[in-house]
């Protein structure tokens, strides 16, 4: 049975909605409508470079993209390939997933090490904390350009250092070579975002009561046991949050790839691919179908996150 709301409660609710109204209107306009419009575009053959009225094409773009229900004549896939859809798209998914998994694994391990290091009794912790914010504060485009210069095959400092150390015997074309291009992107991303990971984990470490470590000491637990039985379990919430944020970021990676590699096949990611179709080729219909696919893929992940962590309102 519904309780009748008191006058005060109703007045409160009305005030709250009035306060919310501007934000709701803006979000509807800058997020809701463009999202709806993108989805609508994905069912048309809109091309902004061609001067003709757009037509409704139904699921055509999605079928081409994912290769669902295509006959062999309709599919552009190589003969005998298991994936009947767009192989450039498959490549973009593959690159994005490899990038995401490898960079996040490295960032988590390295971030955890750095967080533990800064958390330990170290003089100059303040300086370290400040230094950690440097890569994070540098705009991604700037860090991409900085690294492009450092990784230059002839005049770059990275090759110079590796040559001096005897690790390599001649300069490597890190960016141009298909063997190293994707790993180069991973390395730059690891440099840029590991400090962010370390900061989140450091905040988690600092919230662990010191008394627990003392208790573990009294019980005779060594440093390794303390780490696995006290630190890690208590760090889990912070670790999980950091992981999820980074995963969402990595799945939509754009800046680093676009600036360092352009739309090169070896490194093209989902976002770069979608923008290439839309802006470079003017194909807003197909590009929007890709955008919408990315939205759904990341949306599933986000929903799982909100449910799994039960982010609390109160």
């Amino acid at each position: 049975m519904m309780r009748r709301l008191s006058l005060l409660e109703r007045r409160q609710a009305l005030t709250a909605w009035l306060f919310l109204a501007p934000s709701l209107v803006v979000v509807a306009l800058v997020a809701g409508y463009p999202l709806y419009r993108t989805i609508a575009l994905s069912f048309t053959d809109t091309n902004i470079l061609e001067d003709r009225p757009a037509e409704f094409v139904g699921w055509q773009h999605y079928r081409d993209l994912w290769g669902i229900g295509l006959t062999d004549e309709e599919s552009f896939a190589p003969e005998g390939a298991w994936f009947r859809g767009d192989h450039d798209w498959l490549r973009a998914i593959r690159n994005t997933l490899v990038f995401t998994v490898v960079s996040i694994t490295l960032e988590t391990l390295l971030g955890l090490l750095i967080a533990l290091l800064v958390h330990s009794e170290l003089r100059g912790r303040g300086v370290m904390r400040a230094a950690m914010l440097v890569p994070w504060a540098i705009p991604t485009v700037v860090s991409a350009q900085m690294w492009t210069w450092m990784l230059n095959d002839q005049f770059g400092v990275v090759n110079d250092i590796l040559l001096r150390l005897g690790v390599i015997d001649r300069g490597i074309a890190w960016i141009a070579s298909p063997d190293t291009a994707l790993w180069t992107i991973v390395a730059v991303d690891v440099w840029k975002t590991t400090p962010f990971m370390a900061l989140l984990l450091l905040a988690g470490l600092q919230s662990i009561p010191a008394g627990l470590y003392e208790a573990a000491n009294v019980d005779g637990a060594g440093p390794v046991r303390r780490f696995f039985h006290v630190t890690l379990p208590l760090l889990k919430p912070a670790l999980l949050v950091a992981l999820i944020f980074r995963t969402l970021d990595a799945l939509r990676v754009f800046d680093i790839v676009q600036v360092m590699m352009g739309t090169k096949h070896d490194t093209i990611t989902m976002t770069v691919f979608a923008r290439q179709q839309m802006v470079d080729f003017g194909d807003f219909g197909y590009g929007s179908a890709i955008s919408t696919s990315i939205f759904l893929m990341i949306g599933v992940f986000t929903a799982a996150y909100v449910v799994a962590l039960r982010v609390e309102v109160d």
Partner: protein, 285 residues
């Protein structure tokens, strides 16, 4: 028990290793920026020297002048400043009232709205690129400051609301009640009581919004076409030299240093606030 001398040696070794590791990590994080500073002061001969020259023999400050004379960089800086300041201001004004409602009021439908904001702040920019382009064209704000500020609201507003809500929740209830007893309207309460207490939160959220708008690349690249509206990230990614294949590295590095120094200064001054903002909600959640 090991003899004291051995224990002392072990401790000494441990400390040495710890500091060595810290030094390596420090160098790893700071070196690329220092390398950019060094490169920005090199002459072309030193920039393209084999073997690599590590520090310029004589700093060539002309590179910094050339950024402004040979590139439209002054204009790019103005564009970025105007767009980032306007975006931050709008996000804070609109976001603070929403955060107040979400953090302090109890009403039906609050939960879905909070989750909605959270979801919007997480969803990928690319998923609205096509629709946003069409909308910006329809409003006639393509290739303008307003167009960029408009599109940036999707990045900064939900995030601002989210960060500020976590600050608003922590305000003691007695203060509002005192204001109500004194006969203040909700808007007066917000302005005279809540905003001053939320000031640290506003600084944090404002900084994060500013940095986000200042660094944004995808929308800026797509919704501007001329140097009169291009922001710094787009400009730095597209600097070109006299020849088609000549990349003006010294100028790119000089420009990189110019845009990064204020950011690093901001971040160092407001270190604690920024870390608090990044972990707000995240760690509590």
């Amino acid at each position: 028990m090991a003899p004291p001398a051995v224990r002392l040696a072990a401790r000494l070794l441990r400390r040495t290793l710890l500091y060595a590791a810290a030094a390596i990590v420090f160098a790893y994080m700071v070196f690329p920026f220092l390398w950019a500073v060094g490169s920005s002061l090199k002459s072309p001969a030193e920039l393209f020297a084999i073997p690599v020259v590590y520090w310029p023999s004589e700093p060539r400050w002309e590179n910094y002048r050339d950024v402004f004379s040979e590139q439209p960089f002054g204009r790019n800086l103005l564009n970025s400043a105007v767009v980032a300041v306007a975006t931050t201001f709008l996000s804070l004004v609109i976001g603070a009232t929403a955060a107040y409602a979400l953090g302090r009021y109890r009403f039906y439908g609050k939960r879905p709205i909070f989750y909605g904001m959270l979801a919007v702040s997480m969803f990928p920019q690319i998923s609205i690129l096509g629709g946003m382009y069409v909308l910006i064209q329809a409003f006639g704000i393509y290739n303008t400051w307003i167009g960029l500020v408009f599109s940036y609201m999707v990045l900064t507003l939900p995030f601002t609301v989210w960060v500020l809500t976590s600050f608003a929740r922590d305000i003691p209830r007695e203060l509002e009640e005192a204001a109500r007893v004194d006969g203040a309207t909700p808007l007066q309460t917000l302005w005279h009581v809540i905003v001053p207490i939320m000031a640290p939160g506003l600084v944090t959220a404002g900084l994060l919004a500013f940095i986000q708008a200042w660094n944004e690349y995808l929308f800026a690249l797509t919704f501007t076409v001329e140097n009169s509206t291009r922001t710094v990230p787009v400009a730095i990614a597209n600097f070109s030299g006299a020849g088609q294949h000549e990349i003006p590295w010294a100028q790119i590095m000089a420009a990189s240093v110019i845009v990064t120094i204020p950011l690093i200064a901001l971040v160092l001054v407001f270190q604690r606030r920024i870390v608090a903002g990044l972990t707000a909600g995240a760690v509590k959640g």
